[in-house]
Amino acid sequence: MNCKNCRTDLVGFIRGTLPKGLEVQIREHLNGCEECRSFADYLRTTLNVIHQEKVIPADPFLATRIEGILSKSGAASRRLSFLPKLIPALTFSIFILAGIAGGIGLGHALMQANENQNIASQQMSFLVDDLKQEPIESFLMGL
């Protein structure tokens, strides 16, 4: 085994995850190669940092803080809890009001149109009646 191959598997060797045969080869190489042995020591010491960092003192007040945050957010959501119930009712009311307003508007427009039509027909009938009651010939003859 050469140095390059040895170095490639050194992390696995240190962590003991290599197959037995490869492990033996690396061990033999390390016995005879000072630089690889020195690098293996460096790796071992560096990776040992992980073991030292694993121990983290637990925060004894974390549960209390979480309970506080949850109760705050719970209270806030309770304050606004009527909103989801109110939204369908509000939407329904808006539709009803829009329908009523639309109906009134339409009624007004139709009434207006009817009125206009009545005025036009009244005016026309007046003219027609005038012609009937007082034909132009008799009017001229009367002169």
Binding site: R15, A58, L70
Partner: protein
């Protein structure tokens, strides 16, 4: 630590018991859940963010996530697997969203000071002198920089196996992968890590010998 630290003795329960209490809305359930899973969540988060305070922030977010989304837990995986998933996602989001944390290579003097003081607090002061603490701090930074530079999935798999001592099967469940994929990820992660640490090793030996580093 204050008296509170000693007064809160965690009462450990098994997963079904904790779940039952949580679903029943038992007020004591939150405390049981936090007491039971806080070390696990902190350890996993610390593997990603490498800063105890950041890890504590993530832990808080994780527990709030768990408690507000409990109705979504279907019980297909174990509760701890679900919590691991939430922790990993929260940690990755935390890293992604924080540019300050992403640019770890370029520490300001203040951050370095803060980190050094944290390292001093965490480490056992009875056993290490300042020079040893400084060396450990440097090694820690080297290692974390190397791990952070790993591709995403390799980083997750490596952290879960190294920081949480999980089996390949457990990691496969958490990451939704097959066991052989996890093996492959870890193999590549270790290889990449070795390459990056080799460069650091060469640089440090060159510094010690006063020579220019060779690749």
């Amino acid at each position: 630590m204050s008296k509170g630290a000693n007064s809160t003795t965690p009462v450990l329960m098994n997963e079904p018991e904790v779940l039952k209490l949580l679903l029943a809305g038992d007020p004591a359930a939150v405390r049981s859940l936090v007491d039971q899973y806080q070390p696990m969540v902190l350890r996993t988060a610390r593997g990603f963010v490498r800063n105890t305070e950041d890890a504590r922030d993530i832990a808080q977010e994780v527990f709030i996530d768990i408690l507000t989304n409990l109705h979504r837990f279907k019980g297909q995986a174990s509760l701890s697997t679900w919590i691991y998933r939430i922790t990993v996602n929260r940690s990755l989001n935390y890293l992604r969203n924080s540019k300050r944390r992403q640019s770890r290579l370029f520490y300001s003097e203040d951050q370095n000071e803060g980190r050094r003081s944290e390292a001093v607090n965490i480490s056992d002061p009875d056993q290490k002198n300042p020079a040893e603490l400084l060396e450990q701090q440097e090694r820690s930074e080297t290692l974390h920089t190397a791990i952070l530079s790993l591709p995403g999935k390799q980083q997750v798999a490596f952290n879960l196996v190294e920081y949480d001592d999980l089996s390949y099967k457990e990691i496969a469940e958490i990451m939704h992968l097959t066991i052989s994929s996890v093996e492959s990820l870890l193999f590549r992660a270790r290889k990449n890590l070795q390459k990056k640490l080799w460069v650091c090793y060469k640089a440090s030996t060159s510094r010690e010998n006063g020579t220019k580093p060779k690749s």
